[in-house]
């Protein structure tokens, strides 16, 4: 059974990984997005994430159930709140019978999360504040 959440507290990556383990799965691929310091010559020192929580959960559930219908299990959790460098912002995990599907679906899901789930980042950079998706 898939698990999706918007989390105000730090992600427990190990606990999320454990949710994916089951005898029918032989491959688990996880992606963890973290707060990066440098983007080209822009230095970031923190990111604040906000969400349209109810709709974000609906969108995450749609994504998870699509992949789950193909026989895999899915865990997606995104942070909100103020994150420091190296903090985990998003966890996407897919457990499948074989590694090929697990890799493929994990990449599909993180791309879909970035494109269609109503979550926003406000980057606190050394030169100014930037809103993700706008510049």
């Amino acid at each position: 059974m898939h698990y999706v959440a918007i989390a105000a507290q730090p992600l427990d990556v190990q606990a999320l990984y454990e949710k994916l383990k089951a005898p029918q799965f032989g491959g688990i691929v996880t992606f963890v997005g973290t707060v990066r310091q440098w983007t080209a010559d822009v230095e970031t020192h923190a990111i604040e994430y906000t969400a349209y929580t109810e709709m974000a959960l609906k969108e995450l559930t749609k994504l998870a159930t699509t992949i789950e219908a193909q026989g895999a299990n899915v865990v997606i959790v995104h942070r909100v709140g103020h994150l420091a460098l190296t903090d985990e912002a998003v966890f996407v995990g897919v457990a499948a019978a074989h590694r090929g599907d697990a890799f493929k679906w994990c990449e599909y899901l993180i791309n879909a999360v970035k494109q269609q789930v109503p979550i926003w980042k406000k980057e606190f950079d050394t030169d100014k504040i930037r809103w993700g998706g706008l510049e």
Partner: protein, 81 residues
């Protein structure tokens, strides 16, 4: 009047998490954005890139009767991950 939820940069530009807008019938994405632009011209540039959600689902060209709309939101470009 309809309550429209705002998020991220849009909420900051207006200084509120939601606004009240007068909307024509039927309700469409274009109508929501046009009403927002008229009431809060400072949001024009961001509005051009916004999507509209009705009842927590993105809409495109669909039309809605007032009775079908329980929640309206303007969605700036998303940037999770």
């Amino acid at each position: 009047m309809y309550t429209v939820k705002l998020f991220a940069i849009l909420a900051e530009q207006v200084g509120q998490a939601e606004v009240q807008l007068q909307l024509p019938t039927p309700i469409t994405a274009g109508a929501v954005k046009a009403a927002m632009q008229a009431a809060f011209p400072q949001t024009s540039s961001v509005l051009a890139d916004c999507l509209v959600a009705v009842n927590q689902t993105f809409i495109d060209q669909e039309e809605f009767a007032p009775s079908e709309v329980t929640e309206l939101a303007l969605i700036p470009p998303v940037s999770g991950g």
